[in-house]
Amino acid sequence: MLNASENEKSPTATLSGRVGSHADLAVEIRDLRKVYNMGEFSLEALCGVSFTIRRGEAVAIVGESGSGKSTLLHIVGALDSPTSGDVRVGGLNPFQGTDHQVSHFRNQHVGFVFQHNNLLPEFNALENVVMPGLISGKNATQVYRRAQALLERVGLGQRVAHYPGQLSGGEQQRVAIARALINEPVLLLADEPSGNLDSRNAANIHALFAELNRDLHTTLVIVTHNQDFAHTLPRRIEMRDGRIVADSAAAISSP
């Protein structure tokens, strides 16, 4: 599984055209299971999921609600923990150690964008973006400078001092994306990022993701039910009932 795509050089392998290799694996999942125990009965959200994602890839995870796609994303982002199985992000086990280490992982190695309510309402756009940087204890001046640059990159250079209440839904999501990138994580994870937006704003967000993947070579894993958006991404993983039922990369790389 790990070696399948190692020696392949396909024109559509990744958006950025990078060759995949063992050291460039952003995500490695092996036989991941998640079971929720709720009193008398238990719910199997993930029933043995396995896949890998190379650095620089842009992957869409699609499926009906209840398919386990959000659960998978939460586990990859270390917001939820697996019941069993192997998870590695950027070569690291997110769940090793205490809450300290897990929090450190969330801060440094992944950036998470939720569908809504991503931002702290009492802080303006710039302050929201720097927050993960401040948490990591990096030099404040450098963090602010980088935040300013990121906000300009997502098209909000003129709105840095605005509070979330003064920003539109689309603008809020762009601030959330900028924040997710402040600590240069291995992965940018997004759970239905355009789900609450109208079609025009949604399209803007989709275009932004494409730009970031192309220009910054950011590895993307995006859960979406928007089929159009999913098809613009070079790789799609489809899930149903806690299992992967289709993976466009597997289709490409299988001999």
């Binding site: 809450d99 929090s103 969330r106 302050e127 401040l134």
Partner: protein
């Protein structure tokens, strides 16, 4: 595969940033944030009220008790060094007089004395009295009696000299000669129907083994002056004479009843007495502070102060309850934001720390405001006379004595309590599950 190291205290800058914004921005913001401002102000006021009440009430109480103690002290000796067990006399030791002042820097002066019950007889009638032999050289230094003498020129040193009598007793044949002098209380002289310059006879109450059996010693004396202290026991009972005369009269040549000690701060008598006791144990002596005879009242006053402190601490405790409630509500209201902070890597303990600090700052501001306002109020109350207590303290305001150790302990105590009050909210916020909170579609 290596696991990269975790920095030690990375979140501190973030915590302080969050703290500053959450506590203070609610003051500068508008619309719904005014509720948040009110929410922070209320517990602050609660603590401030408690600390203010504590400071004012205890200081006024302290002032009152100090005034009372001064009245009780009156003309009593600050400390008497007497025999440790029983009521016997001690050997006269000049060396002890030299050693005592070195035992404490509170000691201003020392003077030996000898006391005995005596019967004093004038031409009219006999009366029981207390004969008090003093060291004419340094008695004044220790007793500060000059202001009580009716004749402002009277001094204890006069007792060193004999004097002539201006009148003689009925049954006396001799008209001339000099007699040992004494000072007597004004009321005693009234009862004896005597005045300054009159002759009196001291009659000892101790049996004197003579040839024929019991024959009490008699000593003719003359009244050199009178005094009025305002204390009944002194004015109607006490007679001062020189130490050597009383020793001879009592047939106790090398003995004292004790040594009187004057202190810089008479209200510190108990503390100094404890110090002295350590050193005096070996000599078979002890130091008796003036408070010993007023134990019951002073104990009651002390108990009252403790009771009052307790009640006022309860007020502060209630103020802390409001901190707990305010912060718990804040946790509920801000659960989503706390979940976001967790998702971007803020550690669980740092979130808890954030809330503990919130409690601490609310307490700190409350304490500062309460102390400031309390001390201001005390200034006003001590300077401006109030009609209610006009007759008790005419002309000036309430007596105030600020106990700084109490003020410091209530400040630190309130601060500690306000942090403790934040523990439950901190535990609540640490319980937040980011996934559960952020997946909630009801936003």
């Amino acid at each position: 595969m290596a696991h990269d190291p975790t920095p030690l205290r990375p979140g501190l800058a973030a915590i302080l940033f969050l703290l500053k914004r959450y506590l203070f921005s609610s003051w500068t913001a508008r619309k719904r944030k005014s509720q948040a401002a009110f929410g922070v102000a209320l517990p602050v006021v609660g603590i401030a009220v408690g600390v203010c009440a504590f400071t004012v009430v205890l200081s006024v109480m302290g002032g009152f008790v100090q005034g009372l103690k001064k009245r009780l002290l009156g003309v009593e000796p600050h400390i008497e060094v007497v025999v440790r067990e029983g009521f016997g006399r001690i050997p006269a030791q000049a060396e002890l007089l030299r050693r005592l002042p070195q035992l404490s820097n509170q000691i201003v002066s020392v003077s030996p004395f000898i006391k005995s019950d005596v019967i004093v007889q004038s031409s009219r009638k006999p009366m029981t009295a207390l004969l008090w032999g003093v060291d004419t050289q340094n008695a004044e230094e220790v007793m500060r009696f000059n202001s009580y003498f009716l004749n402002s020129d009277s001094r204890f040193s006069e007792l060193a000299e004999d004097a002539e009598a201006e009148t003689s007793l009925q049954d006396e044949s001799q008209a001339g000669g000099t007699f040992p002098t004494l000072f007597a209380g004004e009321k005693l002289l009234n009862v004896l129907d005597s005045s300054v310059g009159d002759r009196l006879t001291l009659i000892s109450t101790q049996p004197d083994e003579g040839l024929g059996g019991f024959a009490p010693t008699q000593q003719p004396v003359v009244v050199a002056g009178a005094f009025h202290t305002g204390s009944m026991t002194h004015d109607s009972k006490v007679i001062f004479a020189r130490l050597e005369l009383v020793q001879k009269f009592m047939d106790a040549p090398g003995e004292w009843s004790g040594i009187q000690v004057a202190l810089r701060e008479p209200l510190e008598a108990e503390t100094v007495a404890l110090q002295l006791n350590e050193a005096l144990k070996a000599d078979g002596l002890r130091a008796k502070p003036w408070t010993e005879s007023n134990k019951a009242l002073l104990k009651a006053l002390r108990l009252e102060r403790w009771g009052m402190s307790f009640v006022l601490y309860m007020v502060i405790l209630v103020g802390c309850f409001s901190i707990t409630i305010t912060l718990v509500l804040a946790v509920r209201r801000k659960a989503r934001e706390m979940a976001i902070l967790r998702s971007i890597g803020l550690r669980r303990v740092d979130l808890g720390l954030l809330y503990l600090l919130k409690g601490g700052i609310i307490g700190l501001v409350g304490v500062v405001l309460g102390l400031g306002f309390g001390l201001l109020l005390l200034q006003v109350v001590s300077k401006i006379p109030l009609s209610i207590i006009e007759d008790a303290y005419p002309g000036h305001g309430l007596p105030v004595l600020v106990s700084w150790s109490d003020v410091i302990s209530v400040s630190l105590g309130s601060l500690l309590l306000s942090v403790v009050a934040a523990i439950w909210p901190a535990l609540e916020v640490m319980r937040i599950d980011p996934v559960e909170t952020l997946s909630d579609r009801a936003a």
